[in-house]
Homo-oligomer: 387 residues x 2
Amino acid sequence: MMSSPRRPIILTRRKRPFQRSEADETQNKSYTASGARSVSASAQDGIRVVDHPTRPEALVVVVPETAGLQSVLDALTVKRKERGTPGPNKFIFLSGRCGSDDEVKALFQATSENKNRPEAGVAGNDQTLPNSGCTCKEKFDGCVQLQEPQHTEEDPSAVKGPLSERPPYSYMAMIQFAINSKKNKMMTLKEIYNWIEDHFPYFRNIAKPGWKNSIRHNLSLHDMFIRESTPDGKISYWTIKPEANRGLTLDQVYKPAVEPAASSFPQAMQVCYQQVPNESSVVVMSAPVAEVEEERVCIPFSEPCNSEQKEILRKRYERISRRKQRLVPLSNEEPVLLFDSSLVSTFQEMECDLKPLTKGAAQLPPHPASHRSRGRARRWMKGTSTA
Amino acid sequence: MMSSPRRPIILTRRKRPFQRSEADETQNKSYTASGARSVSASAQDGIRVVDHPTRPEALVVVVPETAGLQSVLDALTVKRKERGTPGPNKFIFLSGRCGSDDEVKALFQATSENKNRPEAGVAGNDQTLPNSGCTCKEKFDGCVQLQEPQHTEEDPSAVKGPLSERPPYSYMAMIQFAINSKKNKMMTLKEIYNWIEDHFPYFRNIAKPGWKNSIRHNLSLHDMFIRESTPDGKISYWTIKPEANRGLTLDQVYKPAVEPAASSFPQAMQVCYQQVPNESSVVVMSAPVAEVEEERVCIPFSEPCNSEQKEILRKRYERISRRKQRLVPLSNEEPVLLFDSSLVSTFQEMECDLKPLTKGAAQLPPHPASHRSRGRARRWMKGTSTA
DNA sequence: TGGCTGTTTATAAACAGTTAA
DNA sequence: AATTAACTGTTTATAAACAGC
Ligand SMILES: [Mg+2]
Ligand SMILES: [Mg+2]
C-alpha cells in the first residue's frame, strides 16, 4: 500500500460524491466512487506517462481503469530514473478513457487559462496547473492519491473529461491551497471562488451553485480561517491563522526535512520514547522532540509481536503519522501516542527511529486500559470514576 | 415586543422544522412556524392558569391560539399576585386545543416518568418537568418565548398534543440544559439522550432517529463540549468547558444580578462609553466594565434621533444584549459595540444606564465606515488596504 | 457481525447585513 | 432616493462516511 507519512488528514478523500447541477443529475450513479481502494499490483500495461506541454517539472500520467496502483508506481519509477535529477515534481494522474498523447497535452494547453479573470494571478505566485478529479498528486515525499471513476457503459454521452471530475480535496483543503498561493496569504471570497474554479474546473462546469455556499460555510466554521478587514472597513480578506497554517499548496503538500527514502516505512518521522512511571509503557511521539501529537493510543498487546500484530502496529503508526499535524506542548492534558515499552524493539525493527525522550513525560498519567478517539486530544478526570 | 435582556442566542428558535419519523411526514405543513412573531396585546380571555399537579412551584398556562402575549403576561401577573412570595417559578405554556383543567393536570402526571429509565435521576438534581414544543418558559428575569403552532383545520387526526411538539431550543442549548441539570455537570451520551427524551417527549415520540446523530454531532462540533474519561478509560463523560458554561438550565436561563423592573428597556445591563480618539464615537459595552461583548456595531446616524431612529437603535441594542454572552478582554482585536457619541443622550433618555469607561479604549481603531458581522469578533489589518 | 460512540465532511437553508443594479 | 436583487457572513440542521470499541 505504501501510504505516505505526514500526509495531512485534510487531504484525505472527501466522504461522498458531490452536488452536480441539474443537467448532470442523471449520471450520478457513475460517480459514486467505491472502487477507489481495490488497488491491485499488476503489470504496467496501458499506463502512459506524458510530459506536460508547458511545465517541464510536470508529468501527465494516463492510467487505464484496469491498472493497479503498483503499476502506476512502477511506471513512475521508470520515468523518474529516465529523467534524472531534478526530476518532475508534479504528477497529474488521469484515469479512464483519454485520447492520444497529443490530445492529452492539448487538454492542458487549452485549460491553463487564468488570465481573463479579474483577480487571478495578481500576486504572481499562483499555481497554474489545472487539476481534475481523477487526478493523483504525487509529491516529493511520496504522497499518492488515486481515484478511479467507475465508468458505466450505458452513458456514452458523458463528457467525462478529467477536467470535469471532482477533485479529491475537501473544501477546507482547497481554501488553504487557494490562500497559500498568494504571497501575502490573503484572499477575498471572490478570489477564492475564482482560484478554485481555475484550478478545479469541476466547480465552474458541473457543481451545483451550492458549492459557493459550502465555501462560505467552511470559512466561517473553521477557526483556522480568519477574516480581516482593511482599516477603512471596505474590503474583507480571508487569511489563515498563522499557527494553524501548514503552508499547504497544490504544489507542495509537505516540505520534508529529510530526503525520502525507498523504504515503505516512514523514516522522516522522528520518534521518541520514555518510560512512564509505574508502567511498562513507552511514549512515542512525532518530532520535534519537545512537542507531541495530540493523540494517545494504547496498543493492547505487549508480548513480542507476531507478524500479524506487527502489521496492526505498522498500520496504526502510519495512520497516526498522517494525522493533522497540529503539534502541541507536552502536558498531561494533551496525551501522546503511547505504546507498551516492550514494543520499542519492535518499532526499531520496523526502521522507526526511536530515541529516548528527555523531558516532560514525567507528568504523564498512568496507562489507561482503553481508548477511543480519532485524532482529538483526550482528557482524563482527576479522581476515580464518578457517577 | 418586550423582548428580554441577556437571553442567549442559543435560546432563539432554531431555523426550520425538524425531521419527523415517516409516520408523521404528512403533517409537516402544519408546523412550519411563521406566526410566532405576530404577538398582539389583547384581553386575557381564554387563558387558563392551572397549578401543576405535583410541583407547587410550577404553573401550567393554557393559551388559546387567539391570545396575544400581553394577555398572557397579564394573566400571569394576576396569578403571581394571588400566590404571593415565593410564587411559582416554573411556567409551562400550552397553546392550542387543550382539555379541561383536570385533563391538563393529568397530562403532566401521566408523563413525568423518569423512573424506569436506567440513568435518569441518579444525581437527584434533575428537572422533572417535561416540556413541549408550543411551550413558553417564563423565567424570573422575564424571559419569554412563545410559539403558536398554526393548526390547520383539514387534519383533525393530528395528535398535536403539546407533548409531541418540537421544543424551541437548539441541540446545543438542550445539551447544556441536560448537562447542567446534573450536580457534577457531567453526563454520558446515553444520559443526555434520556434527559432530552424525558424533558422533550417530541424526541422520543416523533423525531426521526437521526436526532441522536445530531446530538453526537453537536457534542463533537462545539468546543464547549468536552469529553472526559474516567482514569480507567472505561467511561466517557461529556462536560461543558467551564469558562464557556453559563449555567443554563431549563429552570433558569439567566440569574439576574438585579431585580427585573417593569421597564421594557433592559436596565440590568450595565453600559459604558468612552470617546474614541479622532472620532465622534462612543463605545458602549456590557458589564462588567473591563470586558466587552465581542461585537462592534456602528450606527449610521449621528444627529439627534427622531422616533424612528430611536426605534432602530433600541432594537439593535436589544438584539445585541441578547447575544452570546462570551465576554472577552477589551483590546483592539476584539472590537466593541460602537455608536456615535452624539447618541449618548439618546441612550440615557432610553433609560440605558450609560457610564464613562476608564480603561482600554485608547487602543481602539478608528471608526470604520461600514461593518458586517453577526456577533463575531472583527479584526482589522495593521497597514492600509492591501491588494 | 452489528450496534454504539465519536469525529469529520458535505449540503441545504434561515437569516442578517452590505453592496450593486 | 427608494427598492430590489445579489453577495457576504454566521449559524443550525440533517445525512452520511468512517474509525474504534
Ligand atoms: Mg472562520
Ligand atoms: Mg466538542
